[in-house]
C-alpha cells in the first residue's frame, strides 16, 4: 500500500458515498452541501492525476461559484421537502433496475477494452501535461477559436439568465 493508493481509496470513497447521499437527502440544502463535498474530493483526485490547474479550477469554479449559485437559488425559493420513494414507486424501481444494468454494462466494457494494456504512462510527461504553462500554451494557440466561442457562450448565458429571470418585459 503506497501513499498514492491510500489517497485514491480515501478520495474515491468520499466521492462515491457523497454522491449517493446527494440524491437521497430530502432537504435540498443538505444535497447541495454533499455535492460540494463530492466536488472537493474530485479535486483531490485531479491532484493525484497531476492535473494541478484543473484541480484548482474545480475548487474555484465548481465548488465555489456554481454551487454558491445553486445554494442562493435554493435559499431564495421555498426549500420544500419532498417525500422520497412515495410517489411513482414503479418509476423508481424501473430507474434503479436501469441504473444497475447500465453500470454492469459500463464495467464490462471497461474491462473488455482493457485500456491499461495500451497505455504506458510516464510520470514526468503527466506532470508536464497538467501544468498551467502547457494548458495555457495549447489554449492560446491551437484552441483559440473554441476559447473565444466559450467566452461568447458565457456572454449569451449571462444575457439569457437576465432576460429569463426578469419580472416583466418593457
Amino acid at each position: 500500500m503506497t501513499i498514492e493508493l491510500i489517497l485514491f481509496i480515501i478520495f474515491s470513497a468520499i466521492a462515491a458515498v457523497s454522491s449517493i447521499l446527494m440524491i437521497t437527502r430530502s432537504n435540498p440544502v443538505i444535497s447541495a452541501l454533499f455535492l460540494i463535498l463530492n466536488f472537493a474530493s474530485l479535486a483531490g483526485l485531479y491532484l493525484l492525476l497531476n492535473a494541478q490547474f484543473i484541480a484548482v479550477a474545480q475548487v474555484i469554479v465548481y465548488a465555489g461559484a456554481i454551487m454558491v449559485l445553486f445554494l442562493f437559488v435554493i435559499m431564495l425559493l421555498k426549500p420544500e421537502r419532498e417525500k422520497l420513494f412515495a410517489a411513482h414507486p414503479r418509476v423508481k424501481t424501473f430507474a434503479l433496475i436501469i441504473a444497475v444494468l447500465v453500470f454492469i454494462q459500463l464495467v464490462y466494457m471497461i474491462f473488455l477494452s482493457d485500456p491499461s494494456s495500451s497505455l504506458n504512462p510516464v510520470a514526468a510527461e503527466s506532470v508536464k501535461a497538467g501544468t498551467i504553462e502547457q494548458i495555457g500554451r495549447e489554449l492560446y494557440t491551437n484552441y483559440v477559436l473554441p476559447f473565444e466561442a466559450a467566452g461568447f457562450l458565457l456572454l449569451a448565458a449571462t444575457i439569457g439568465a437576465l432576460v429569463l429571470a426578469k419580472k416583466k418585459f418593457d
Partner: protein, 101 residues
C-alpha cells in the same frame, strides 16, 4: 501512476450512474440540475484520467470547456427555475408540464 486507469474509469461510471438515477427518481427541479452537474463531473474525471495517463494536455483543455458550459447551463437553468417558480409556485417537475402534449 501505479494506480490502474480502470479504477478511475469505474469510479467515473459509478458517479455517472448515480447522476442518472438522481435525474430519474427525484422530482425537485434543483436536485435534478445538481444530478446533471454530477454527470458532467464524472465525464470530466474520465477526461483528466486519460489525459494524465497519456501525457497529453488536450483532455484537460476539454475539461476547461466543459466547466464553461456547466457554468452557462447552471445560470440559464436556475433562471428558468426562478421564472417557473414565479408562475406556478412549485419546483416539482411533475407539475411543470406546460410543454407536455
Amino acid at each position: 501512476m501505479i494506480i490502474p486507469i480502470e479504477y478511475y474509469l469505474i469510479l467515473s461510471a459509478f458517479m455517472f450512474i448515480v447522476g442518472v438515477t438522481g435525474v430519474l427518481i427525484r422530482r425537485n427541479a434543483i436536485i435534478v440540475f445538481m444530478s446533471i452537474e454530477l454527470m458532467l463531473n464524472s465525464a470530466n474525471l474520465t477526461l483528466v484520467a486519460f489525459s494524465s495517463y497519456m501525457g497529453n494536455s488536450v483532455g484537460q483543455l476539454f475539461v476547461f470547456f466543459v466547466m464553461t458550459v456547466a457554468a452557462a447551463e447552471a445560470a440559464v437553468g436556475l433562471a428558468v427555475i426562478i421564472a417557473m417558480f414565479r408562475n406556478k409556485m412549485t419546483m416539482n417537475i411533475d407539475e411543470i408540464n406546460i410543454l407536455k402534449w
